[in-house]
Symmetry: D2
Subunit: 348 residues, 4 copies
């Protein structure tokens, strides 16, 4: 058997043991152009629960979620482009926040007091080495779960926040960064060149599902999508039917279908600002410590589209910009590897 390539060695690197416990991906904040239109999309069309409203923002959660919110819609100012302004992660204890602050002293960061967001304790925002705006928090108000109020559910329904997918110009570098935060890899895509195999996509986890964060090669740093868990494929189909039945099929960008990677049964939707949300079902348990990453060849069309349906170019090209410490969008650069062109699934 051939010795593992550098890419394979990286994918199989055990996670670091940092002095803090980042438990899971937990929320996203989107800057939107029309707060009412965005609330209509997430609340009326997708059926999410509104937890709180302020003059500038709406806070929403899924039907299973007890955490006060997992999605923040924030009204941008006139002329501002839509963007993702915070990628939220929950840590196990308040002290973890202080340890993260120490860990990131070299990076731009910002503390927010408890109550800055309704229902949430103090939080620490850090722009990581690639300028993704990560926000860490521990304390958060708890609601009763509404997962069995089936009489109130709509569409899928969206049960809980599942993961963030990041367009990354340098996937392997970003991969090392997330390892250092204690994440490990469940699946990855790499090139077939025996001399220079390169990772073009990586699925990284803290909670024992397929992922909390995915890194996929693309112009970035940008947010490709965030995802909510739905209980079963039938729910994903129902969401599509409800959207199309109400003359909203234009918001469906890709799917429904199954990914080879992660085994997800998915559909991707675009909100009024083009932010992309995935309804996600059917992944698997990854919690055992000797759970080894699964490799997919970038040339295997099943990895991104298990049944073969082609993704539209927009799905590969378009992503949400991010907000930097200066409140402007973060500069982006093209990816150093190309995942897409080798896929037979992509349209000519």
């Amino acid at each position: 058997m051939a010795p593992p390539s550098d890419a394979q060695r990286l994918a199989n690197t055990p996670p670091g043991a940092p002095p803090f416990d980042v438990m899971r991906a937990a929320f996203v904040e989107l800057r939107v152009r029309d707060l009412a239109a965005s609330e209509h999309f997430y609340s009326d069309l997708l059926g999410m629960i509104v937890s709180a409203r302020t003059p500038e923002a709406v806070y929403l959660r899924g039907w299973e979620e007890r955490q006060h919110h997992s999605l923040i819609l924030r009204q941008g100012r006139a002329g501002q482009v839509p963007a993702a302004s915070r990628l939220g992660f929950r840590v196990r204890a308040e002290e973890d926040l202080d340890r993260l602050a120490e860990h990131f002293t070299e990076r731009p960061s910002r503390w927010s007091d408890a109550g800055t967001d309704p229902g949430m304790g103090r939080s620490l925002r850090v722009w990581d080495p690639f300028n993704y705006p990560l926000e860490f928090f521990h304390a958060v108000e708890q609601f009763e779960s509404q997962h069995q109020r089936f009489d109130l559910h709509r569409g899928a329904p969206l049960l809980r926040f599942d993961h963030l997918n990041l367009h990354s110009p340098r996937v392997e570098d970003a991969f090392r960064f997330w390892l250092s935060l204690g994440f490990r890899c469940s699946e990855y895509i790499s090139t077939d060149d025996p001399e220079a195999e390169r990772i073009t996509g990586a699925w990284l986890l803290r909670k024992p599902t397929v992922h909390d964060v995915a890194l996929t090669a693309g112009t970035g740093p940008r947010l490709h999508h965030f995802a909510y868990w739905v209980a079963e494929p039938a729910g994903v189909l129902r969401a599509c039917d409800q959207l199309a039945g109400g003359y909203q099929s234009h918001v469906i960008e890709r799917g429904p279908g199954r990914h080879g990677v992660s085994n997800a049964f998915f559909v991707y939707l675009r909100d009024p600002d083009g932010h992309r949300i995935e309804l996600y079902s059917c992944d698997y348990y990854t919690g055992d410590p000797d759970h080894k990453p699964l490799r997919w060849s970038v040339n295997d069309p099943r990895c991104r589209s298990f049944w073969g349906a082609r993704a539209p170019n927009s799905w590969y090209d378009e992503s949400s910009l991010l907000i930097g410490p200066d409140d402007h969008t973060v500069a982006i650069e093209p990816a150093n590897v190309d995942e897409r062109t080798q896929h037979t699934e992509v349209m000519a």
Copy 2:
């Protein structure tokens, strides 16, 4: 091979060729004690569409249906017991009504003018030889189908009226009557006694599904249930979840489950007056003229419960009384065969 028994010969009798064309079971009218409560059940909980309201009645239809209504809820007077007052069948042409009137000159009958019910043409009510109140009609106002307004559907949803199930004290006699109206048999249940095999249940059709009318042995004449078609088992489960999620699980009498007979994936609900409605899915095509009836032994527990779950006694014992020509409930008598006691599925 043994010669067929009398029961088998009856089951395989070709349908008569009467001078009228009864196309299909098409509606039911229920006398209810509290019209608002009944409307709430069918419209709010089960999500049916209200087509019209009068001071005394509410007219409803399923999401796929173009016919003005398939369910009529009619307020009874103080002290009246709940009952089924009309079992509706659509005929192919206006002339069929006149031919039916001629056919039934020996039986009590009643014409209603067009417009007596909103949206419906003239109709002929006949009390058949067993005193079931059959109502025949042809002309009916058409709506646009709402089958693709998935955004408005609730629960299952209920797509279209499918069939009527009658508790019959003399199943074999009733079977012969329905043959004379042009119905034929798709499935039947009979006893195993080689000397005296008796039919205890029969599924009879005009439209090419498993049935328009089922006859099952029981104290009668009574209406055991009426059924609406839902597209798939997932819809039946969702209806149960929505009912239970809204604290209405007490209306679920039996199921969800699968019948051996008809292959139906079903659930049975009881409305506020105890009238029983089935949500019904998964039957099959029966339209070819040489389609032979399928026999089930009354001792095969799979025929009524394919997976083995036991039906509650209420499902065997309770049914809706019927209204006779004198506006009082029709007298009932016990069945001359017992379907239930031979079933292992029944609780001791």
Copy 3:
């Protein structure tokens, strides 16, 4: 309200009353290049039941079907192109065959004796005015249905033959022909030009489902696809998973998805010769005589793809050739209207 266009008048024309009763679309015969490979596809991958084998042909049926076969695979000779050689329709009685022979005296035709195909009585093949090879039969051997042998089912499973879809160069002319055979229209697609609205697709039925025959504008005469009914969307997804799980995702051409037209939940597969089979679910009841056709604009992307996913060009361009009376493929001509280019769903 504007007066109906010529196209709308055609779509709403009542069916003719010919002196024969063509009950339903019932089978297809495919000329294949490698009989073993084709049998593997339909029997092993799709799980159909083999009813009979001869040295030159394999006869298959679905799990619900009692009719001896609904699919014939016939080995072509060296150098012959794959093609569809018979489009089968069942008639209600033997006499209907004689009346069809009289009706088609002007067209090439051919009688086959009972037993020419295993399990089938005499049959009449007629090349209709557009050179589609229609084959009519009545007598056919019956098997017991295997619809409840769930332990033996594979994939979807394919329950019963549902319909034929024909690529037609002159849809409106073909529409009139099928009206004359007693078919009527459930849905149609037409252009939006108020002066010259043209029908570009029509769904025509005898049995009370959405269709037995669909006519869609395209180079022809050719067979676009034949379809089998599956019980529910979950079965269609499972078929896709089983194909892809066994490394056969390349046979999936389009879907799974939902059509606006017919409400079908579908997937299209290509067999080893490129013949196209649809797994089809979720249509509706059309049996009432006043059931009016539903119109879709050719410019409404929902009509062919309710959720918006784009069809590959192959789905619009490729179809099975047909076999003429001389045993050669029938000459084809381009369509006189273009359905595809007006669709936003089609890839540039």
Copy 4:
């Protein structure tokens, strides 16, 4: 607000912080009377994968599982009653085994060398204070997951071992024991007596799902059931259809249905020795440290049967005996609280 009762205080007690990490419930060993019959049940009927066979035992796993096995069937000797002989838990590291041995010095225990079971490292069996035979292990051979070999799956399919459900004569005492091992509570059932509220059932977890171990009041110590995860309700229904289609409906004891507790969509089957296996779907994420237990009243019929279908008495009364250190079955005693009689769901 009333102060919490003792029962509520217990349910909300934070887990202990023992010096070992029991990660999750991981396998069960069953002593069977006819090894071939049991293998047929789990492998042929339920479709599990056989990982290894020895003359005395068969080792099986689910389709997603990489761990060598999660079910061991072991041939009992003539005259021995069927029983559960090991309840397996995976620990995070080899050292955890030594720490567990120290922790349990007062209890009967037994080390097994690596390789005693095929594919498994050394293990420690301990009879806990209630005489349940717990077996802890860390090292185990890994297979490639077969979760996407959908072409090979049968029925549900069974993806992975999910939990153990124990009949416990003293639920509250057992609850305290499991807290001491680091487990915490997701849901519990308790009586309504304000003076003496008692816990009658508790769902306890290490991995962040609803449970690894459930304790339910009943004669014990016994194993009520073990459960495998299936991806979706449609899979549970398919398993029922496949069993019944193959004339095995007698193995279905209860369901399919939904539990209020845990939100599971379930079916319970009995193997040839009466051991009970649950096919389990639809639970939820419980991984956040402030995830509070959900209380159900023992008098709420929805807690055990969300839709209301009654459980057979056998489901409450019957359980698998356990094997003690002397290789004989462990003595049992009746429960000190009665869960069942207060349920309206139970048959008179």
